[in-house]
């Protein structure tokens, strides 16, 4: 398979003005500005294959967006090399723009007062599509995304879910080879989120679009992306299969039990109490030190158990742990 995106030693340094708190600080920074350089992205390297879906994860300010903006050619790297579809994004931004699409969840591109179809028509001209190809493509997307009933209504009258579907169509009209999705499901309810995920998965499967997704919603990433890249402080701290992150960093299990009788304390040592109710108890076990099997045995021998559940901690917490280790 061909590498669609090649990123090598990418670094972006920003100079941020430093200002002390308060008015005095503001005055000082006017007359004697002090700059501190920040490496928003620090020696990042990775390659993406055609048709791959990769999730970019990281806390706010980790450098995800900066990295994406450099890949689309909007920002210029301080150091390092990028190649997207064999283009240099900075030198050939316009040419590259014909081949990539992007959806920023918080930056709408549809014209607010006009029906979505008007924006679609405009985009067909912007991307220089010929009428026939465009109509065919539009019909397919309209059907796939099930938007027919509302593309003639002004965008301001649409619900957020309807609008996001239209946003997605707008960025897919020109059949991009690479799709950048920045928080595409932000603010959507669960049903709509699921629908969006399904659509993205379908597009990826049928058209082989390479998808780069950033999201705060781990479920988005887990359900869509086989590969996960975690960025923190501008550096890649994990790059590998999404599933593996659980296997590697999952040294904890959660056990929830519901007992028949009221008990103050489960009476198990070396575990973390998460919840202590009258009947319901939840604990977290470090499986490296204390096999789950042993713990359960102990619980069963000590108490009359009505119900028992063993859970993985949510992936957010696993990632949080990785971030903490970094620090």
């Amino acid at each position: 398979m061909v590498d669609v995106i090649k990123v090598n030693n990418l670094t972006k340094e920003f100079k941020a003005k430093q200002k002390e708190a308060g008015l005095r600080g503001s005055l000082k920074s006017v007359f004697k500005p002090q700059y501190k350089s920040l490496k928003a992205v620090n020696e990042v390297s990775f390659n993406l294959k055609k048709g791959e879906m990769v999730g970019f994860i990281g806390p706010n300010g980790a450098g995800k967006s900066t990295a994406i903006k450099m890949m689309t050619g909007i920002l210029f790297p301080t150091e390092g090399k990028i190649s997207v579809l064999n283009y240099n994004p900075q030198k050939e931004r316009k040419k590259l723009a014909f081949k990539i699409g992007s959806v920023f969840g918080q930056k709408p591109q549809l014209w607010y007062h006009l029906p979505a179809i008007d924006t679609f028509n405009l985009f067909s001209k912007i991307y220089e599509l010929d009428e026939k190809t465009y109509q065919k493509r539009l019909n397919r997307l309209v059907e796939l995304f099930d938007v027919k009933s509302f593309i003639n209504q002004p965008v301001r009258k649409l619900s957020l879910g309807q609008r996001m579907r239209c946003e997605l169509i707008a960025s897919l009209l020109h059949q991009p080879k690479v799709l950048f999705l920045d928080e595409p499901t932000i603010g959507l309810d669960i049903v709509v989120k699921k629908k969006m995920r399904e659509l993205i998965r379908k597009l990826n499967k049928e058209e082989g679009i390479t998808v780069i997704l950033t999201s705060h919603d781990m479920e988005d990433v887990e359900s869509l992306c086989k590969r996960l890249i975690i960025i923190n402080h501008g550096k890649i701290v994990y790059d590998g299969p999404t599933k593996k992150i659980r296997a590697e960093h999952l040294t904890r299990k959660r056990i929830v039990v519901v007992l028949e009788e009221k008990v103050d304390n489960l009476g198990i040592k070396n575990v973390k109490q998460l919840y202590r109710g009258a009947y319901k108890h939840a604990i977290e076990v470090d499986t490296a030190k204390y096999p789950v099997r042993e713990v359960i045995k102990k619980i069963l021998s000590k108490h009359k158990v009505n119900d028992i559940t063993i859970l993985d901690p949510p992936i957010e917490e696993i990632i949080e742990q990785i971030f903490k280790k970094e620090v």
Partner: protein, 263 residues
């Protein structure tokens, strides 16, 4: 095909702003009110309606003002818009599309600008016809005057776009907008024809680009003459070329240096 997208965005942006038609109309009416105030002011200054001030009759003076006001106020808030796009980081959305950002802005604003010009001019003309009277304009000159108006609108756009780009550094372009407006009001001859200025200031203002936005086209409108017309057109083209080159250079520099706000 490459040009088509800019035409298309002009159309779509015009239909988008038809939503704000009442807003347009309100602004034009307000400018009509200002013209009405000036009419009364000039009536006092002129006293007897046959007198001349620096070659201007009262009718010329008022029609001059109608023209300058219509041109200058038609541009809208381009500078603030560009500044806002930069400040909010929305410019990222424009930069990863296959078009030239500045040309795109020009195309998308032009329909609105022209519509606003027509509306303001019409309202101003009606008020002037009622309270002052008409003016001698030959029909054949109208297309030529209109051409200088279009160039004037373009120069106005280019100067504002150039200042808008500075928002990359300044973060806020509103102060620049304020200062720029005052330059056009005074040095551009929007409020008073440059003939009324002290000799040195008039001569100075005449060669600045601001006067090619307001004074020169409006002067042609009230006192057309062929050699002036050729002169104005040539100078307008000169400034248009100069500003396009400057914008291209500044834009290239700043696009490499920008940091885009927000996530």
């Amino acid at each position: 095909m490459g040009f088509n997208k800019y035409v298309e965005v002009g159309k779509i942006s015009l239909s988008n702003s038809l939503v704000y038609l009442m807003d347009f109309l309100a602004k034009s009416l307000f400018i009509g009110l200002i013209i009405f105030i000036f009419i009364n002011l000039w009536k006092v200054v002129y006293g007897d309606s046959t007198s001349l001030i620096d070659g201007f009759t009262i009718n010329m003076m008022v029609w001059y003002l109608v023209m300058t006001e219509s041109i200058v106020t038609s541009q809208g808030k381009l500078l603030e818009e560009i500044g806002e796009e930069i400040r909010s980081g929305n410019i990222a959305q424009s930069l990863n599309k296959p078009y030239n950002f500045i040309v795109f802005k020009y195309a998308s604003g032009f329909g609105n600008t022209f519509l606003r010009f027509i509306m303001t001019f019409t309202i101003g003309a009606i008020i002037t016809l009622i309270f002052v009277g008409g003016i001698n304009v030959q029909l054949v000159h109208l297309p030529l005057i209109l051409l200088t108006v279009l160039f004037a609108l373009t120069i106005n756009f280019l100067m504002m776009a150039l200042l808008g780009i500075f928002a990359f550094w300044l973060e806020d372009a509103r102060a620049l907008h304020f200062i720029y407006q005052k330059f056009v009001f005074v040095l551009g001859g929007m409020l008073l024809p440059l003939e009324l200025f002290p000799q040195w200031l008039g001569d100075f203002s005449r060669v600045l680009p601001f006067s090619y936005v307001a004074y020169h086209p409006a002067k042609l409108w009230v006192m057309f003459n062929w050699s002036d017309f050729v002169n104005v057109i040539m100078n307008q083209l000169f400034w248009i070329v100069i500003f396009i080159i400057t914008i291209a250079l500044v834009y290239r520099i700043c696009i490499e240096k920008i940091s885009i706000n927000g996530g």
